[in-house]
Amino acid sequence: MENLQELLHGFTIAVTVPHLVLMAVGVLLGILVGVLPGLGAPNGVSLLLPLTFGMQPVSAIILLSSMYWGALFGGSVTSILFNIPGEPSSVATTFDGYPMARDGRPTTALATAFGSAAFGALIGVILITFLASWVAQVALAFGPPEYFAVYFLAFASFVGMGGAAPIKTVVALAIGFAIAAIGIDTVSGSVRLTMGVDELVKGVSFVVAVMGLFGIGELLVAVEEEFHARAVSSKIDWREVFRAVGRLPRHALALLRSAAIGCWMGITPGGPTAASFMSYGIARRFSRRGRYFGTGEVEGIISPETADHAAGTSALLPMLSLGIPGSATAAVMMGGLMIWGLNPGPMLFVDQKDFVWGLIASMYVGNIVAVALVLLTVPVFAALMRIPFVVIAPLIVIICVVGAYSVSNSYLDVVMMLGFGIVGYLFKKLFYPLAPLVLAIVIGDKAEDAFRQSMLLSKGSLGIFFANKLVTCLIVGGIALLLLPLALQLARLLRKPAPSTGETTVQETVPEKVII
């Protein structure tokens, strides 16, 4: 009950005129970056970041998180109306959303998507309301070994459940760690990995990396294909909106299952993209109408949308209570928290009650604002898609360049941003996951510090990671997740004795070296 009181207090902070205006601005900007291919939630949020430095932390996080909700919704708009996913996490929405819209039911498709998305988000926020402070309380007792174990588990779950090729995930993670280590070492004070470039002493800002990886990288992927904005009608029939939302409870099972998948994938850093694909796949397997999926099935829209938003929302839970972001966007927001002088993690719930509960309350309000605004503005943003890509692309390049420069007024950052753009393009093209890379850049330093402090405590013995039940469980869980892809591969080979045994030996040796 204490939580509810805190939440009510949070509402008094969130529901004020300036904050409601910030929410509306954030949501509209979010829809904008969500709609535009090449700009997504992670770099939308990082573009806004330099502009929030002068704000109160509560106002700043409300602006950024509202932008996140807006981007999640905006991505679905283009998926349904144009068959172009504005966000990676709304790819699964195109499978059934676009066919339904093409068959002359765009309003039904949009309303179903928004309704189930709002439901997913609501479940995510409720989860945060009741669980976050409890997790934070548990985490207050954590020492460095526990922290390292939690970080380890987070990274391992990317490898085990991220869906990308495991070794590619490992490479992406390790590169992120190395980038995080560039600059001054926080423990010893010595300068690391600058490779002779003096300006690198300040380190590589994650904002610069995100702009390049997601902004320029995604733009380069997008420019390869000619855009055919074959729009279906984007007129909204308001009566149909309410009818479609009214029909949602009939699919209660799909809604709840997808929300559960979403929350799970959001808390363990699987991220919204993996959540929506997983939810869609499971729905297709278990639905009675599974074989009609792909032709405009209602559950084919509900499942990915609910999971996407549930994951996006609940990704903030580990960020707030443990200091471990559950998605790339949450990682960027967490970077913001550190810049505003807050220390993400359990102490937030003790020192910064206003901030935490203001944010949680704003998540309830922000999602309502987002649903209303996105329905009202669908025609406007649909018209935006008719602006030719050749006009939008240079504008996005300029936004990224200026954004990278404004982080610390450094020209080197701009050049690095462009370099990250090439890396982002290559990684996207070859299915290297980007989220673990960003995550490692943001929390790599903390993970390293936790490891080194643990080593100091134990005088160099790895035994400290098996010293009590909690740590042991976390570490063993992490190792199990790391080995999961290998186990699945072996199981597949045992079932179907393939001649390619030479390949398995390579796979067997590599993951072992990863567990350090």
Partner: protein
């Protein structure tokens, strides 16, 4: 035309050489255990090793015939390459021009060039958009958020 295989190999070599650079560079900070605990270079050293090993694995994976790679042997077709270059080359020139021309001039020229030269827009419209870009940047950054964008060597030589 660039094959999927070539792209995989190039990326693996790129990540691998980054790993090698990290390993070599971290040796300067010392790896292992000293009186102050774990040396500063240890963690980067280990991540570098992981990057190198992972890249080697991806390299081998890329060399193995196409069965393991998705069924698309071609990663980038000539038309796609053309479009890519059409976006990236002007962007790179734009970034390279910033120190000399400054952000405002460089970005307007960039907008003008990419819109008017391939005749996507008429010259007057492209000119208008270029001017609007510079103005918007000035209002948002220099005025509203007090972030000073680089004015460039040319502007300072002229005394701005």
């Amino acid at each position: 035309m660039i094959s999927r295989r070539a792209l995989e190999l190039a990326t693996a070599i790129l990540t691998g050489s980054f790993g090698v650079a990290v390993v070599v560079s971290s040796l300067d900070n010392g790896i292992g255990w000293s009186s102050a605990g774990v040396d500063a270079g240890t963690f980067p050293f280990l991540t570098g090793i992981i990057v190198v090993l992972g890249s080697l694995y991806n390299l081998v994976r890329g060399l193995v015939p196409a069965a393991t790679l998705a069924n698309v042997p071609i990663a980038i077709t000539p038309t796609e390459l053309h479009r890519l270059a059409g976006l990236f080359v002007p962007a790179a020139i734009f970034v390279a021009a910033i120190p000399l021309l400054g952000m405002y001039l460089a970005s307007s020229l960039y907008v003008l060039a990419v819109l008017a030269i391939p005749r996507h827009q008429s010259v007057p419209r492209a000119l208008a958009m270029a001017a609007a870009t510079a103005l918007a940047l000035y209002v948002v950054f220099e005025r509203m958020f007090q972030v000073s964008l680089p004015h460039g060597a040319l502007a300072s030589a002229l005394g701005f």
